[in-house]
Structures are given as C-alpha cells and as structure tokens.
Symmetry: C2
Subunit: 123 residues, 2 copies
DNA sequence: ATAAATATGCGACATTGGTCACAAAGTCAA
DNA sequence: TTGACTTTGTGACCAATGTCGCATATTTAT
C-alpha cells in the first residue's frame, strides 16, 4: 500500500501547480512554473513524462481536438503528509505523532485539508 | 557564506554518528551505522570520501601510527536548521519564522542546542 | 493550401549518488 | 619473515536526474 513515490524538488513544484489549478497543458504548466524552475521547455516536458512513468501525474491525450493535459494523480494531503513524516522521522527523529502546528503554518493548506492531514498522520 | 551542502540520507546517518561520538575511524563508523545503512564497507568508505570532497567531513591521516579518523566538519545545529528551513519553505511553504515546536519534539537536540537553533532560525 | 508556430516523440549527454570489487600497502602475531 | 587480516586507493557500473536538441506531426492564421 501507499507506494507514492516522493516527488523531488522540481516535481513538487509542478505538482503544486496542478493541485492548485487542476489539469493543465504542458505549455501553461511550464510558463506558470518558469520563475521557480529555470528550465527550458524541454526539461519541463521530460520531467512530466518521467512523472507520468512514476505515476505522479496522468497524461491525457487530446481527443481529436485540443491539447494534451496533465493531471496530478497523487493527493496533495497524502503527499505532503508522507514527505513531512519522512522528514521529521529521518532528519529530526521525532517519533511520536507530528506536531500539528507544523502544518497549520503552511500556506498550502486550508482548514479542511488540515483535518484530513490530521487523519492521515494521527496515531 | 554558508554553502553547507545539504547531506543526503546516507550522509546524514553518518554525520549524526559523528556528531554524537566525535571523530571515528571508518570501520567503527561503518559498524555503528550498519543497522541503518545496509551497506558494504566499500559503500561507507566511498560515501565518506565523497563527503570529504564536499566538505561535510574532514579526513585525518594517521600520524605514523594509528588509524585515520573522520570528523564532522559541519555543525549539527546549523545543518539541521538549514535542512528544516529548506523543507518548511520549499515543501510546506511556511514563510514566517519556523515554529519552534518542531525542534523541541526532536530527540536529537538538547536544551542548549535548541537555543542555538532558535538563534539560527530567528528573525 | 502553405507557411509559421506549436506540440509531441525520442534520443542524448553529463552529473550525482548508490554500490561494489580488486589490487596495492600496511600491520601484527606466530 | 611470512602469512593473514585490515586499510586504502582506485576504478567501475548502473539508475536517477537535470538538461537539451532535433525531427516529425499538428494546428492555425493568411
């Protein structure tokens, strides 16, 4: 269960955009992340295909007319929860339940998502 | 200033041992981390030389008699502070000062070190 | 219908990190 | 001294990642 591969830094940037905006065409995604990933369009594309191979995103071919879209395949809360848990345990060696404060300071999560996280990490 | 390269997972394991025990010969370090790094002795050695190249540790040749020792070259608090800051900002997008709770839950830090961290991260 | 602009499919190359094996050099007890 | 065992120095290999470029399909504006 839960073999959600941990996204590496650039992958996370792309995923965040997809989480925030929903399915996007490569070009748009690239432009939207251009400030954070100082990349060529090719790099963005390649990274996206590799992410697709790993199951982090889903590639949808255009149906006759229109552009292809990429959609996040992994859940935002689950991904962040995994990353946070790994970091806390591996780096800081925190072993009990993670302090909930950590997440509430995040600009990425709203109340609903915070509750969800609470569930994912609880115990 | 502060081009302290972020140690990757195995590197961090080795560093932690050095922080806790002080300078150690490779063999000892290897044995001490054997449970966490399921590695051959060669891997430990290679990783150590690469860490030396990066400036994470210092290699001390034996002076005529005795074994070579590796010593951590980067500070524990500074390293953990950097890693935590990076993680919080990059992954969770926390932008204010980091919640101090995060560290107090860590089993790696004593009160003195916690204060030091406070200083490093404050502002 | 064409050419200009885009989008896609692929292959390529360099670096880093994980992981060893092997051979030369050193150490030490019998 | 002479093995036996350890330490060191190196070279190798492969997978993942960062990073492109190019050639071919597609789309779209004139």
């Amino acid at each position: 269960m839960s073999q959600t591969p941990t996204p590496n830094p650039p992958e996370l940037v792309l995923l965040k955009k997809l989480w925030a905006q929903g399915p996007l065409p490569v070009r748009v995604l690239h432009d939207a992340c251009a400030d954070q990933l100082d990349w060529s369009f090719s790099s963005t594309r390649k990274t996206l295909t590799r992410m697709s191979d790993k199951g982090l995103v889903v590639y949808q071919k255009p149906e006759a007319k229109g552009v292809a879209l990429y959609t996040a395949r992994v859940s935002k809360t689950a991904t962040l929860a995994n990353m946070a848990r790994d970091f806390m345990r591996r780096v800081l060696e925190v072993d009990g339940p993670l302090p909930h404060v950590v997440f509430s300071a995040s600009k990425l999560l709203n109340d609903e998502e915070l509750e969800e996280l609470e569930g994912l990490l609880g115990g």
